[in-house]
């Protein structure tokens, strides 16, 4: 992972990407017990050019390929980890990356989404595995419920959360 993070940091220093933060299962690992995962989700701000408002991952892939990365399906493998880069697609993700927490892996600086934003994004994404992860955050008291409510409120997710609570958290809270 050290090699992976170093490559991403180099790419950021070179201006190929803007801010970034680790999300998904690897990001959640900062707060929870480690859970098996095969890839790393990186939320990434991509610079736009004046010529086009379309975002392109091509410069990012070109950079990593020239630094030993190889493409495998939707991932690019760097330092043994398949990485999926997720360009920021809404205000929730933009705020999540802006407020990501600095941490380090084997002495290399990096950023991880906060627990509250990981939960909010998982709720917004809404796959079964996202729901499982949210329950883990709640059961392990790994999320600040007040901060979470504020994030959910700011991003129009309160009603979705209430439905989720009814369906999955009733027993946990009792």
């Amino acid at each position: 992972m050290k090699e992976t993070i170093e490559a991403i940091n180099q790419m950021q220093a070179a201006g190929v990407i803007g801010r970034y933060a680790i999300g998904g299962a690897v990001g959640a690992t900062l707060y929870l017990e480690p859970a098996a995962t095969l890839d790393v989700y990186i939320f990434v701000a991509l610079p736009t050019t004046n010529e086009s408002s379309l975002l392109s991952l091509a410069p990012l892939y070109d950079f990593l390929k020239s630094h030993g990365g190889r493409i495998e399906y939707e991932h690019i493998v760097v330092g043994g980890w398949p990485i999926q880069f997720l360009p920021l697609s809404n205000d929730l993700e933009r705020a999540a990356v802006e407020q990501a927490l600095p941490t380090e892996v084997e002495g290399v600086a990096t950023w991880v989404l906060s627990a509250e934003y990981l939960v909010a994004i998982a709720l917004n994404t809404g796959r079964s595995k996202d729901h499982v992860r949210i329950v883990q955050f709640i059961e392990q008291n790994a999320v600040d419920r007040n901060k979470l409510q504020a994030v959910l409120g700011r991003h129009g997710l309160t009603s979705k959360w209430q439905q989720f609570e009814l369906k999955y958290l009733k027993e946990t809270d009792e």
């Binding site: 992972m1 690897v26 690992t29 707060y31 480690p34 859970a35 059961e139 392990q140």
Partner: protein, 102 residues
């Protein structure tokens, strides 16, 4: 155990993730699940949720509940096979699966 794991540093946790990833890749490449000769079948009367099916249960001498969160089924961290009812009971005694039904 869960609390201890959750309290590790991010670097230590990432190392565990790498081990879990490598193990998954090794298992996927080994063809273990296709090896009929080594398959141990147990009638489902021992595990209610699998009634009327043959299932494979953990036979490890030294076993560990898996932390991967893909629950249920509750399975062994070393062989990825489902825990026996006795192992499940023992795991619960050790503080695992607090929200699981008995």
């Amino acid at each position: 155990m869960r609390k201890r794991l959750a309290a590790l540093s991010f670097t230590e946790k990432v190392k565990i993730l790498e081990k879990l990833r490598d193990r998954s890749i090794t298992l996927a490449a080994s063809g273990l699940r296709r090896n009929e000769e080594r398959r141990s079948t147990h009638k489902a009367t021992t595990v209610g949720q699998h009634a009327n099916t043959d299932i494979r249960l953990c036979e490890c001498t030294v076993w560990e509940p898996c932390v991967c969160g893909h629950q249920p089924s509750y399975h062994c961290a070393l062989c990825c096979l489902e825990l026996t009812p006795e192992q499940f009971k023992e795991a619960r005694k050790r503080g695992w699966y607090p929200s699981a039904g008995t």
